[in-house]
């Protein structure tokens, strides 16, 4: 819970990872390049006194994650977004199974998402059914630039993918989170083109497409598509650090998002462990649009908008009753361990 102007703001971090990039797990140069690239994003934006060492960053403990995210990070609930990269990592980088270790220990705190890769054919469809059955997932994270054998990526609007989206609809997996963001070495940037979201969103109006990283560096293409597709949302991971390091720029990006999508279709995400939620949430919650930006865009980033972006929008997508949830979390093990019980969040 983040305490803002005397009021509690319920925070759902819609984008977290529990990864393993230890040297023992890396089987391909791509795996080392990938974690090094993540680490550049980490050190590029994180305040110096909060930076991790590369060794810490490769693999962190469940205890550390719970402390960073819930203990001191203001987050009430977090959504796991898996990233497999099985061509690079022996046991995968950030798999459903690995995330489930934590999600099953703290079921009231974590939402566990699954994933699919349409290049996996019939076996992949069975695997998706298994994830639904075993973990009751409501969402999937999709990585269109993931390597798979000779293939360096796939498209959301392909026939194969439509078969999987049809399966999602059938199984009631309603939240589709494609990564459409900055290039991550060694993945091929062209596969992060956002244009394929358009056709998929039109063809599956019952599904919600949460475009992670708001399409950066294609914010323009993303906003234009989202303005026309009511079931397209924007995930703020990667845009959020600008609130801390370059507020003026953050105001422009946020102004565009509020203008084209509106405050009901933007979701906060930290991308933990790329960045820790504590300083990110402080920066976003304290952020105010400059007067000229409010005029230019004709939008407000007031407490109501902040509540929506920080938690209410994700709660709607994942069918979370916030009043019930607040009661439930008040005396769970995490609240007991970190003294969060009475709503006086770590903000004090």
């Amino acid at each position: 819970m983040y305490r803002h102007e005397g009021e509690d703001v319920f925070v759902i971090d819609s984008h977290v990872h529990f990864w393993d990039a230890s040297e023992e797990n890396i089987t391909h140069d791509g795996g080392e390049q990938f974690i090094q690239c993540f680490y550049d994003y980490h050190t590029g934006f994180t305040p110096e006194d909060r930076q991790w060492t590369l060794e810490e960053y490769r693999k962190y403990s469940p205890e550390r994650m719970v402390r960073d995210v819930f203990g001191k990070g203001y987050v009430d609930m977090a959504i796991f977004q898996p990233t497999y990269l099985s061509d690079f990592y022996a046991d995968g980088f950030n798999t459903v199974e690995r995330n489930a270790e934590l999600a099953e220990e703290y079921p009231e705190r974590f939402v566990l998402n699954g994933r699919f890769d349409p290049r996996d054919g019939e076996a992949g469809l069975r695997e998706l059914e298994r994830q639904k059955e075993e973990y009751d997932i409501d969402g999937v994270k999709l990585y269109t630039a993931e390597w798979n054998g000779d293939s360096k990526g796939w498209r959301l609007d392909s026939e194969e993918c439509f078969e999987y989206l049809e399966k999602c609809r059938e199984l009631g997996i309603t939240n589709i989170h494609p990564h459409k963001g900055p290039t991550i070495r060694p993945l091929n940037r062209d596969a992060f083109d956002v244009s394929d979201v358009d056709d998929a969103a039109t063809s599956f109006p019952e599904l919600n497409f949460v475009v992670e990283h708001v399409g950066l560096p294609r914010l323009d293409d993303f906003c234009w598509i989202a303005a026309q597709e009511p079931n397209v949302y924007g995930g703020l991971a990667v845009a959020a650090p600008f609130a801390a390091v370059r507020p003026r720029k953050f105001g422009e990006i946020l102004g565009e998002l509020l203008f084209w999508l509106g405050e009901d279709r933007i979701l906060f995400g930290s991308d933990y462990a790329i960045w820790e939620p504590e300083w990110l949430i402080e920066a976003v919650m304290e952020f105010e649009l400059a007067p000229d930006q409010r005029d230019e865009y004709g939008v407000e980033f007031d407490l109501d908008a902040k509540r929506k972006i920080m938690g209410e929008n994700a709660a709607d997508l994942y069918d979370i009753d916030l009043d019930e949830k607040k009661q439930e979390l008040r005396d769970d093990s995490v609240s007991a361990e970190f003294g969060l019980g009475d709503g006086e969040a770590a903000a004090d």
Binding site: Q33, C37, D40, Y41, T43, G44, F45, K152, P182, T183, I184, R185, P186, N188, R189, D190, A191, L216, P217, R218, L219, D220, C223, W224, V238, A239, F242, V245, R246, R248, K249, E252, I253, G255, E256, F259, W260, E296
Partner: protein, 325 residues
């Protein structure tokens, strides 16, 4: 530069091309400033900002009549297509200088540096060097040029709105209506009030530019743009403004073939699809142009921080540059 005259891009600049002007060996060797001046015309196509401004240029070596240039990008995994465009553009720009017979570019610290350096310096097509890439480099270049044009349109139209032109006047404006008051490489004349319209705030940007006006020997720096005037109300009222944002816009619009030459009487500003702007769509087109501008600027921020993480400095941070008018 990215998206410069397609005719230039088509003919791979070989030493023989220089014969029409001067025999390279006879001409005076180029200065470091002249080389920098040419490199300043090469943009990072994703950010639409100059390589020099972005701090990418690492080393320049002049060994008459040969010049070699080394550059580094913010990350080792920057798109090979973008790196390729910058390398080919840099080579072509330098080879266009008098006194240069051949230029060699060296991209450093990039995962594909070997392929890119070898391919570009041998004049090979991108598709031959990267057969796995989706689509050709020219299609990517065109798409980014269109975005850059739209972002530049946002800044140019901002200048005109601040100078007092109405949306109706702006959508009707043609290149033939714009009169440039000074050569682009000469300091801006002290004019601007004859039409009774005050100079916009952007003029201060130009004054900053003035201090650098003499830094290169004869190469054009489009940012030192002088002033321009348009005549409205049947040619009876002249409105003056600083010309740099219009010049930058024109350059990109011409490269894309939307307008050609100063006498063109087709509309200067266009929709994202390149069509004339109906007056009632002015606001929507303007919002989309703003979005293109914010996107390019935002990505510049990401690149600047990655550059810092990698090299310990932020190069030229996009937003330290003059805010657009």
């Amino acid at each position: 530069m990215a998206g410069s005259n397609p005719a230039d891009a088509g003919g791979d600049a070989t030493p023989a091309d220089a014969d029409e002007t001067a025999t390279p060996a006879d001409a005076a060797p180029p200065t470091r400033e002249a080389v920098l001046g040419r490199l300043d015309r090469v943009t990072d196509p994703e950010l639409d900002r100059s390589l020099v401004e972005l701090g990418y240029v690492d080393e320049i070596e002049i060994d008459p009549p040969r010049v070699s240039v080394a550059f580094r990008l913010p990350t080792a995994w920057c798109s090979p297509a973008f790196a390729w465009m910058m390398a080919t553009d840099a080579r072509e720009e330098i080879e266009a200088l008098d006194g240069v017979a051949s230029a060699t570019v060296e991209l450093r610290d990039h995962v594909h540096e070997t392929e890119i350096n070898d391919g570009v310096n041998r004049g090979l097509p991108f598709e031959e060097v990267f057969p796995d890439a989706d689509g050709g480099v020219e299609a990517v270049r065109r798409e980014l040029d269109e975005k850059a044009r739209l972002a530049r349109q946002y800044r140019a139209v901002s200048t005109l709105l601040e100078a007092g032109l109405s949306p109706e006047q702006i959508v009707r404006l043609a290149p033939a209506d714009v009169e440039f008051d000074g050569a682009p490489d000469s300091p801006p004349p002290i004019t601007g009030d004859e039409a009774g319209v005050g100079r916009d705030d952007g003029a201060s940007t130009e004054r900053d530019g003035e201090t650098e006006a003499g830094r290169d020997d004869g190469t054009t720096d489009d940012r030192d743009g002088g002033t321009a005037t348009v005549y409205v109300r049947g040619g009876t009222v002249g409105v003056a403004f600083s010309a740099s944002s219009i010049r930058e816009y024109l350059e990109k619009a011409e490269a894309l073939g939307l307008v050609s030459g100063a006498d063109d009487d087709r509309p200067l500003f266009r929709t994202p699809d390149g069509n004339p702007i109906p007056a009632d769509e002015f606001d929507m087109v303007r919002r989309r142009a703003r979005l293109a501008h914010v996107n390019m600027d935002g990505q510049g921020g990401v690149c600047a921080y990655l550059h810092e993480a990698r090299y310990g400095d932020r190069g030229v941070d996009a937003s330290n540059a003059p805010e657009s008018a």
